[in-house]
Amino acid sequence: MLGVFASMLDGVLVGAVYGLAAIGLTLIWGVMDVINLTHGAMITMGMFGLYLAFTELGLNPYVALLPVAGLGFAAGVVIYWLSVHRVVGRPPLMSLLSTFSVNLMVIGIGTILWSTSPYNIDVSLPGFSLGEYTFTGNHLLAAAAAVLIAIALSLFLARTRSGKAIRAVASNRRAAELMGIPSSQVLARAFGLGIAIAAVAGGLIATLFPFTVLSGSDYQLKSFVVTVLGGLGNPTGALAGGILLGLIEGGVTPFIAVSWIPVIEFALFVLILIAFPNGLFARRTHR
């Protein structure tokens, strides 16, 4: 029984980080109706950004999350103006192809720079034990950081002028413009914010697990499941969706082979799409 509880707790801790990764995707999707397929690549860049800050600059990996977030934001704004701005409001296939192209370029450059070898951030924080089961400090801190960032983002969207502008543009772009809100700049900032969060999530994942240039795509897939669970454009919903996904993963693994987990995840994905097309936590949406 303790084993099942330990597995579920492990799942919740990792799930919070899945939730954070999904927040970046759901924010962009919700605000500008763009399914951002650079999401996985940006998670990867967050991993390598943290790795370089840790190994080359000697920064504490948790402190290094700040420059990773800043660079992620800047990269997001650049990607917005280069590949997204002209396709916002156009058929979804255009933004899918556009962001997918950027994704291929980023992964291609990453492969040239770092090959596809596994990298590892050698940080180990003391955790706690329940019987023979140990929970690492890295997992606890990553989960706590994910929750804090999700809360901060919710407050930002609900309480600040910039956040309200993002919500206004998401709600009705033309009306927002008539009120004097520069919608393109707001969308660029929202895109930058989404990428910054994806990069930070990538950085946190890099403190937990080894990674390669190709790792981001796995977390991108999980982000889609979490986004559907949590509802479009809803950061707290995405966090809750991530935690729920982790809980489900942790809850079933003691009883079935781990290779069944992706099957269960994507069966859930389809079921939620059919039964709750707006997500399980849709009523709390900020839109």
């Binding site: 330990a6 492990d10 089961y133 140990t134 080894p210 990674f211 796995d218 781990v258």
Partner: protein, 409 residues
């Protein structure tokens, strides 16, 4: 300078260039060249494991060419390697081996790295009747399909973990064993044999599960091993998953007394895991401390020194396998006195030779033609000597450089 002068100079340069091309072309034509084609996984999941093998091929080529080439029938053949990045993907292997044969006119082939990719390449090599020396590909099944031109350098997968279990039996005869292995052709073949062997030597298999080769979070698996009260872990797959599993077993403080994982711990890179690597064992096709007395080619020390000089790192068994693949092909060509594939294949069938890599001989009956019959494995363990991690041979006892460190921590 007038326009006319410019045209004259340009014409002269073009003529010189053309002459240079002719000279260069004729010099290539004058030398006899044997082309060996292969793919390597410069990118993708198998990249760490593939690099060692690739380095081994290149070192062999450089040394053979520097010594005048392969001598056969009174001719000296310079070795030309033709290779591409297969991105660790079978579909790329299929395209590229066809290209190596049809466009690059490869005379012989080396295998890609891994059993899965080699199984794909073998379909092409057999279709065109090309000899392929396989290395880094130990799944038995590929050699039991009636292939005629496939020759395996590695001890087959079915024997990979038996040595580790024999070593464990000496210190814990009734061990409760967890078997966690990558869901790929090679690891599954190893696991199938290990599962039977665990029970045959009186140990209890308390956990038996495959995981996706791309797994990065082993937490759920480790928790299940702890719940099953396992005291030994065997399994793994390739470098990325094996190194991750070892690190997370350490981070989770799993109460395991013995770990033996495929492939990953043999890589020099495994030592970068620090404390997580301590006392982890691995079955290895070869170790630099080997003391084989070769009938052909360099001795283990000469090979090890040359490899360190060329690449600045310790040779892994993948590197040794790559070099030895070239050596065995060279031996067969020299014995045959020709590069005619059927005659070289006939000599490969008769191969019975000791090299720096150990004994090499192939089964020749049709049910398992080309399967390795002469080579045997060792068990290596990362042991802490002061602040350094050193890879020691701990099994078989006859060839051990240190006793098995047990329990793990």
């Amino acid at each position: 300078m007038t326009k006319q002068h410019r045209w004259i100079i340009a014409g002269a340069m073009a003529t010189l260039g053309f002459a240079g091309l002719v000279a260069s072309g004729s010099s290539v034509a004058a030398a006899d060249v044997v082309t060996i084609g292969f793919t390597e996984s410069e990118t993708g999941a198998l990249n760490v494991d593939s690099i060692g093998q690739f380095n081994g091929f290149r070192l062999w080529r450089d040394q053979v060419n520097a010594a005048g080439g392969i001598t056969a029938g009174g001719k000296s053949y310079q070795v030309n390697l033709a290779f591409y990045d297969d991105q660790s993907k079978p579909d790329r292997v299929q395209q590229l081996y066809s290209r190596l044969i049809l466009q690059d006119n490869a005379d012989f082939l080396f295998s890609p790295y891994s059993s899965g990719l080699t199984a794909t390449a073998a379909i092409i090599s057999e279709q065109y009747g090309k000899i392929m020396i396989t290395t880094g590909a130990s799944e038995d099944k590929t050699y039991q399909l009636g292939n005629k031109y496939l020759y395996e350098m590695y001890t087959p997968a079915s024997a990979y973990l038996t040595g580790a279990l024999d070593a464990l039996k000496t210190v814990h005869p009734k061990a409760r064993v967890a078997l966690a292995y990558a869901d790929d052709a090679f690891a599954k073949a190893v696991a199938t044999a290990a599962r039977t062997y665990v029970q045959s030597i009186g140990m209890e298999l308390v956990f038996d599960e495959a995981y996706a080769p791309s797994t990065t979070d082993f937490g759920p698996l480790i928790n299940k091993m702890i719940s099953a009260k396992a005291d030994a872990l065997i399994g793994g797959g390739h470098y990325a998953d094996g190194a991750t599993l070892a690190r997370q077993v350490y981070d989770h403080k799993a109460p395991l007394d013995f770990i033996s994982l495929l492939v990953a711990p043999d890589s020099p890179k495994f030592a970068t895991l620090g404390e997580s690597a301590v006392n982890v064992t691995a079955p290895s096709q070869w170790a630099p401390q080997a003391t084989f007395k070769p009938d052909f080619g360099p001795d283990p020390k000469t090979f090890g020194d040359a490899y360190r000089k060329a690449y600045g790192i310790e040779p892994s068994y993948h590197a040794a396998g790559g070099y030895a693949a070239g050596l065995i092909l060279q031996h067969a060509i020299e014995q045959a006195g020709t590069i005619d594939p059927d005659k070289v294949a006939a000599r490969l069938d008769q191969t019975d030779v000791e090299t720096f890599y150990g004994h090499v001989r192939f089964f020749t009956d049709s049910s398992r033609h080309g399967l390795q019959a002469g080579h045997s494995m060792v068990i290596v363990q990362w042991q802490k000597k002061g602040d350094q991690l050193v890879k020691e041979v701990v099994w078989p006892r006859a060839g051990a450089t240190a006793p098995l460190a047990y329990p793990l921590h």
